[in-house]
């Protein structure tokens, strides 16, 4: 079989020309496609619009996925599955809220699915948690993003999920129970344990960070 030679990469203006349909109805001053343009392009199945949408939200959603995953590879899997769901179900997005919120919710659900596949949640008996949570104050500047992310990732999967959903995303324990198909008490128990673990590690981290004799 004979073979055809690969074509050279097209120049940047050519790529812009290919994307011109996304901006054809708008003034020339705003060349970046709007969110609605991207959505419409994705609904038409245009690859360029899909890529633009991905590029716009991939970094933020990767940060979300990293909180729920234990490793970067796992986070990438969640991100990929989440964006596949986004492109597949974009037609059901009613544009009543910012697209980012909708995508974030899809990512969280993708993380939950991934977790169910990998490590089924183990029910913990109700009341197996301290009634009162410590109210220690932490100085924000003493900790960096990478350190806190590593602490979250080191949590056991079930603790990590509950902590993320409750402390970061703002879900209630009742909602978490419905999402994870566990009881509300179980959610509280797991959150309490996760919080205790984090508090201990934060204190240890702060101790390590202090110079000797300080």
């Amino acid at each position: 079989m004979s073979a055809s030679a690969p074509r050279p990469r097209a120049s940047a203006p050519a790529a812009d020309a290919a994307a011109s349909h996304l901006t054809v109805s708008r003034p020339a001053s705003s060349m970046a496609p709007t969110e609605n343009d991207l959505i419409d392009g994705c609904l038409r199945g245009h690859p360029l619009a899909q890529k633009r949408l991905y590029e716009k939200y991939a970094a933020r959603m990767m940060a979300v996925c990293q909180r729920y995953a234990q490793t970067t590879f796992e986070a990438e899997d969640v991100l990929q599955e989440g964006f596949l769901t986004v492109f597949r179900t974009l037609g059901s997005f009613r544009r009543e809220c910012p697209l980012e919120f909708w995508i974030r919710r899809i990512m969280v659900n993708a993380a939950l699915r991934q977790h169910r596949r990998n490590a089924p949640l183990v029910a913990v008996s109700d009341g197996d948690y301290p009634e009162t949570l410590s109210s220690d104050e932490f100085t924000f500047s003493n900790y960096a993003y990478g350190e806190l992310l590593a602490l979250v990732q080191e949590l056991a999967p079930r603790y990590r999920l509950v902590f993320n959903l409750y402390a970061i995303e703002g879900y209630t324990h009742k909602e978490i129970g419905e999402l994870l198909q566990i009881s509300e008490g179980t959610s509280k128990s797991q959150y309490s344990r996760a919080r205790a673990v984090l508090q201990t590690r934060l204190a240890h981290l702060h101790t390590q960070a202090k110079p000797p004799g300080a």
Binding site: P6, F83, R88
Partner: protein, 508 residues
């Protein structure tokens, strides 16, 4: 002097929320391979959607054709079983008074016992078993009635309804036929050249004309034909003064010709090559470069994703022969076709394996290169057609058959890259396309044959689906292969109509 802002403090939840949420805006994007995998998955998902949609289209097309065939068949059947009245009750068309007169006068007053009358004149004792009703041959024969200066022709608007009414009344009147008076009624029957009646019936006196000539069934027609053959009027028979015989012009009964008929047709529509060039990695030639397999697979997926149907045109010459079975015809011929399609890929993929020393990501261009395809073929179709009853004017037809064709030439042209243009003929060894193709075809439509002309126009939708795939070496199983299909309209003209007039019947 304001003191410097102290570092914010908060609970454990606020600490994590502060850092994790705020850092999202400045988070680093994922590695490029994530998008590549995602893009590939999107392509596969899109292909699956196309595949499902294609299956749905095919089912819908098959259901439509079946529905159209059933509807056409039902219509033809109803047309074939509808009696064609040749002579009906004669009376002023649309006159309810006449129909009333027929209904009321027949049993007692209508001395239409033609058997009796005929026996008086020609010795044919029993011309009609039913005194008031008779039938004549299905062959259309014009008869006219002269009654007191009124002329009646068959086929009037109410003739058939009146004929049915007369027949029902006559059945009851048959019981009292012996009492029927012959006063004022005379019946004449003259034989034409072929023994079929070309008679003129006349009534006299004040009686309402009520002769009923109707088609019943083949048995009755045969019986009548045999009886009519026995009727011979003596030469000396003279018409009563009130009767006025009217010469009938023989009407030729069309009969189907079994000679070959010539037809030319042109069809245009949408053609989808529906090619899937994808293969398993092991089926590619890995010697064409380290990245050749992945690059070709990606390019094949892109090609498939962006494949769009184009215009299909076909010019054909047909020879049609009427089969001896019902209204079935067999036709075959020769046709030339030109179909087009288009697609796009990042590497100008035209169906061949891509040779490269780099990966797909490195060779793909940011802009998709659109590629246009032109397929030329010559083929021999064989079809069975079914046409509605042979009559002038409009009629319906249905057709189904197979096509065996040879793909003479495939021209692939990459937009803006003349070097990538490929042209494959039947002798091209490396062609990714089949040289011999087979497909099935079906359609329905309408014929129009103007009266007095020996040609027929036809127009109707036609659909074609490939039995074989267009690419030469599909890796899928036979039932899972992607095959070309087309949907369009075909118009044709047929010379030397299938209908030939019967020989003229000399006037009596």
């Amino acid at each position: 002097m304001t003191p410097p802002n102290p570092s914010p403090q908060g609970s454990l939840e606020e600490l994590f929320r502060h850092h994790l949420l705020e850092s999202e805006a400045a988070a680093l994007p994922p590695l490029p391979h994530v998008w590549e995998q995602l893009d590939n998955s999107l392509l596969l998902a899109q292909n699956e959607r196309y595949r499902r949609r294609l299956a749905a289209y095919r089912w819908a097309m098959a259901a439509s054709l079946l529905l159209a065939a059933l509807a056409g068949g039902g219509w033809w059947r109803s047309q074939a079983h509808q009696p064609a009245p040749t002579l009906a009750a004669a009376g002023p068309a649309g006159s309810s008074a006449v129909r009333g007169a027929v209904a009321t006068s027949l049993p007692g007053r209508l001395a239409a016992n033609y058997g009796t009358t005929a026996s008086e004149q020609a010795g044919s004792a029993t011309l009609f078993s039913s005194p008031n009703s008779f039938s004549i041959d299905q062959t259309p024969t014009l008869a006219s009635f002269s009654l007191a200066g009124n002329s009646f022709a068959p086929g009037s608007a109410n003739s058939y309804a009146t004929a049915r009414l007369v027949r029902r009344r006559a059945a009851r009147a048959a019981l009292g036929a012996n009492d029927a008076s012959a006063a004022g009624f005379h019946s004449l029957s003259a034989s034409g050249a072929d023994g079929l009646p070309t008679a003129a019936f006349a009534a006299t006196g004040e009686l309402t004309p009520a002769a009923s000539l109707d088609l019943t069934d083949a048995q009755a027609a045969d019986q009548l034909r045999s009886r009519l053959a026995n009727v011979r009027l003596p030469a000396s028979t003279t018409l009563p003064a009130q009767l006025r015989a009217t010469a009938l012009a023989p009407v030729a009964a069309p009969r189907a010709s079994r000679a070959w008929q010539l037809q030319m047709a042109y069809a245009a529509g949408m053609f989808d090559p529906n090619i899937d060039f994808s293969k398993a990695a092991g089926e590619y030639n890995a010697n064409l470069g380290p990245g050749t397999v992945a690059t070709t697979r990606e390019a094949a997926a892109e090609y498939r994703n962006h494949l769009r149907p184009g215009l299909g045109q076909r010019l054909s010459v047909w020879a049609t022969r009427r089969l001896g079975i019902g209204r079935w015809n067999l036709r075959t011929g020769l046709e030339v076709a030109q179909n087009t399609a288009s697609s796009a890929s990042s590497v100008g993929f035209v169906g061949e394996q891509v040779a490269t020393l780099t990966s797909y990501v490195q060779v793909q261009s940011d802009r998709l290169q659109s590629t246009s395809y032109r397929y030329r073929s010559v083929g021999v179709p064989v079809e069975l057609t079914y046409t509605s009853p042979m009559r002038h004017g409009f009629s319906l037809y249905g057709r189904a058959g197979t096509l065996f064709s040879s793909l003479l030439n495939v021209h692939s042209e990459v937009d803006g890259d003349p070097e990538a243009t490929r042209s494959y003929s039947t002798r091209s060894a490396g062609s990714p396309y089949r040289h011999l193709l087979a497909s099935v075809r079906g359609g329905v439509g309408m014929h129009y044959e103007p009266a007095g002309h020996q040609w027929t126009l036809s127009l109707g939708p036609v659909a074609e689906a490939g039995i074989t795939s267009l690419n030469i070496d599909p890796t899928q199983r036979f039932w899972s292969q992607q095959r070309p299909y087309s949907v369009g309209l075909e118009a044709g003209v047929q010379f030397n109509s299938l209908l030939k007039p019967a020989p003229a019947i000399p006037a009596p």
